[in-house]
């Protein structure tokens, strides 16, 4: 992360629609948003308002129709797909609603995937994976298969995977909505603590109000627009 820019994510006048003609849906209608380094930002709003779409655009997995996305000082709206993939592999960590762990490989191997994608293999990858698993309290389970774990534990693995390569930005879509209240609270505590230690920026989409108190800032979204909070 460059020292001079405190703004890690800057969105300017983002629009996005799906479909065409009569079936066209304007999902994002002029979004401006900045996120500071080390900030934990939550985006919430009613179902279908465009939260996930916005998150996809922030993470560079989806391109907006118009507007500018600058992440870590790089204008990703202009980047080519291949470079964008490299950029994501290096600077972004992901945690998904349904964890998306690979069922046939062990927990530590799952955690090591972002390292493998970057070409870090073998002993080094294993060491770093076990280290981060220790931080989420699962190092004693590292050689089990994911299906041997509870939902909360699987999400902890997913968070370890999101952090193992020390990305500057963590992207989470509904990280707690598949979990019960207490487990969700536990996951958020771990996420909050680890990202604070590493000064990582976190963007979370959620409509789980029970975790709102972890946020540094919450933006409300409705009908493709952000409301001032």
């Amino acid at each position: 992360m460059s020292g001079k820019s405190e703004k890690v994510i800057e969105l300017t006048d983002i629009t996005k629609s799906f479909g065409s003609g009569r079936a066209k849906v304007d999902v994002l209608r002029g979004i401006d948003l900045t996120v500071d380094a080390g900030e934990m930002l939550m985006i919430e709003g009613p179902s279908g308002c465009g939260k996930t779409t916005l998150l996809s655009i922030i993470s560079g997995t989806l391109k907006p129709d118009a507007g500018k996305v600058v992440v870590l000082g790089k204008e990703i709206t202009k980047a080519r797909n291949r470079n964008l993939a490299k950029f994501r592999a290096r600077h972004l960590g992901f945690a998904f609603q349904l964890f998306n762990l690979i069922p046939s490989i062990s927990i530590w191997e799952n955690v090591s995937v972002p390292l493998l994608i970057q070409g870090i293999k073998g002993r080094e990858a294993k060491k770093r994976s076990i280290e981060i698993l220790k931080e989420v309290g699962l190092d004693d389970r590292s050689s089990l298969l994911p299906n041997k774990l509870s939902g909360g534990q699987q999400q902890r693995v997913a968070i370890a995977r999101a952090l193992v390569h020390e990305p500057e930005i963590i992207i989470c879509d509904e990280p707690t909505s598949a979990l019960d209240g207490a487990t969700g609270e536990h996951i958020m505590t771990i996420l909050r603590q680890l990202t604070a230690e590493k000064n990582a920026t976190v963007v979370i989409v959620t409509h789980d109000p029970r975790i709102h108190h972890f946020a540094d800032r919450i933006v409300h979204m409705e009908d493709g627009k952000l409301l001032k909070s």
């Binding site: 996930t52 997995t61 291949r82 993939a85 592999a89 992901f94 690979i102 995937v113 994608i117 970057q118």
Partner: protein, 385 residues
């Protein structure tokens, strides 16, 4: 990442098993059929391989070695006078019936050899002596003839046993004594071989029949064989062919005039289709079922190239294992049937190489088709469950 791809593939036991067995089955079918086909085709020129001549001379309109068109005896003299010809000997070939103990007939191929030199006799004599066939009414039969004739043979004393040296057989109404047994290459059809002198062979047929099926020709030392071939053709108006060319001519005839290549070809194509469908379908469902995880990998920054390579690697490794098993099974089949001597089994290195390439290409094409889905997958679909 690639090690991971293999781990993921192997972990999916059922699918891996399906993939490998599909490819193995396909390989087995193709290799086995191709080898039996090669074996069968190797039988087409058995006569030529049993009798080896530098040059064969025959009627111009002859189609293949099993269908002789006898010439006039006088042609022998004309061929002998061609420059470069060291010697030319007559060769009798005719399919004739052997009478069985029950009155039924079995067909055999009677070969008549030059009375003096006995040129064209198979070298591998397993019982008796080739020279015996010079004696009146004496013949040499091959091991296949022993087998065939013994199926229904009754000795003079009424005993039911295999034929052996000294026994008498009825060929087309004339009686002949077995004076030697040889080991000859089997024919594709027409029955086993019985060798006798040209003179004896002529005696079986009515006196006005033409008997000169072929001439076996040797060239003088230092003579250029193709040149001599051309000279014979030009000066006699007959057809002359070197051993290899005659084999080819015969083989080509079988390709053009029998359903054998087509029948085998059909099975091979069937094998290919089965292999392609199983491989394609398995890889496709693999990709479809894992699309959420593949999308996650994509979101996390795995490039299309790496994902494609992962799937290609999975297909390749399954193809290699499947090919190995298929070839192993085909060879086992071959080892099992070779002693039976029934369908000859000739597994050529060419077959192995061609089948390897074909299987490999099928696996690659299937992997490419299956991976199309991954390549067009938008990484953001991982967020949409």
């Amino acid at each position: 990442m690639y090690r991971l791809a293999l781990r993921i593939l192997f972990a999916d036991r059922t699918r891996y098993f399906t993939l490998v067995s599909g490819i193995a089955f396909s390989t087995l079918l193709i290799v086995q059929q191709a080898s039996v086909f090669c074996g069968l085709m190797s039988w087409t020129d058995a006569i030529l391989r049993n009798s080896r001549a530098e040059i064969w001379v025959m009627d111009t309109f002859l189609e293949q070695v099993q269908l002789p068109r006898p010439m006039r005896e006088i042609e022998l003299t004309r061929v002998r006078s061609v420059e470069g010809v060291k010697w030319a000997v007559p060769y009798f070939h005719r399919v004739l019936p052997v009478k069985q103990a029950d009155g039924q007939y079995k067909m055999v191929q009677v070969i008549g050899l030059d009375n003096v030199s006995l040129i064209g006799a198979p070298r591998n004599i397993v019982a008796g002596n080739l020279e015996n066939i010079r004696s009146p009414d004496t013949v040499m039969i091959d091991d296949y003839a022993v087998e065939r004739i013994s199926e229904n043979f009754i000795a003079p004393n009424g005993e039911k046993r295999d034929v052996r040296l000294g026994d008498w057989i009825d060929i087309n109404g004339s009686y002949f004594k077995i004076g030697a047994i040889c080991d000859a290459n089997r024919p594709i059809y027409g029955g086993p071989y019985i060798y006798m002198t040209y003179k004896h062979a002529q005696g079986i047929l009515s006196p006005d029949s033409r008997t000169l099926a072929y001439m076996m020709v040797a060239t003088q030392e230092g003579a250029d064989i193709p040149t001599v071939v051309e000279r014979i053709k030009k000066e006699t108006g007959l057809l002359a062919l070197e051993h290899e060319d005659f084999s080819w001519k015969t083989l080509k005839w079988f390709f053009a005039n029998t359903g054998i290549p087509l029948a085998f070809g059909n099975t091979v194509v069937l094998g290919l289709i089965v292999g392609a469908v199983i491989t394609g379908q398995t890889l496709f469902s693999f990709v479809t079922e894992n699309s959420r995880i593949l999308a996650a990998l994509k979101a996390m920054g795995t490039s299309n190239r790496v994902l494609l390579n992962m799937i290609l690697l999975q297909a390749t490794s399954a193809a290699l294992v499947g090919y190995g098993i298929g070839v192993g099974l085909a060879s086992a089949f071959g080892l099992f049937v070779i002693p039976l001597k029934k369908p000859p089994f000739i597994l050529l290195p060419h077959t192995l190489i061609i089948v390897f390439i074909v299987i490999f290409v099928i696996a690659m094409v299937c992997a490419l088709l299956a991976s199309r889905k991954v390549l067009v997958l938008e990484p953001d679909t991982v967020f949409r469950t």
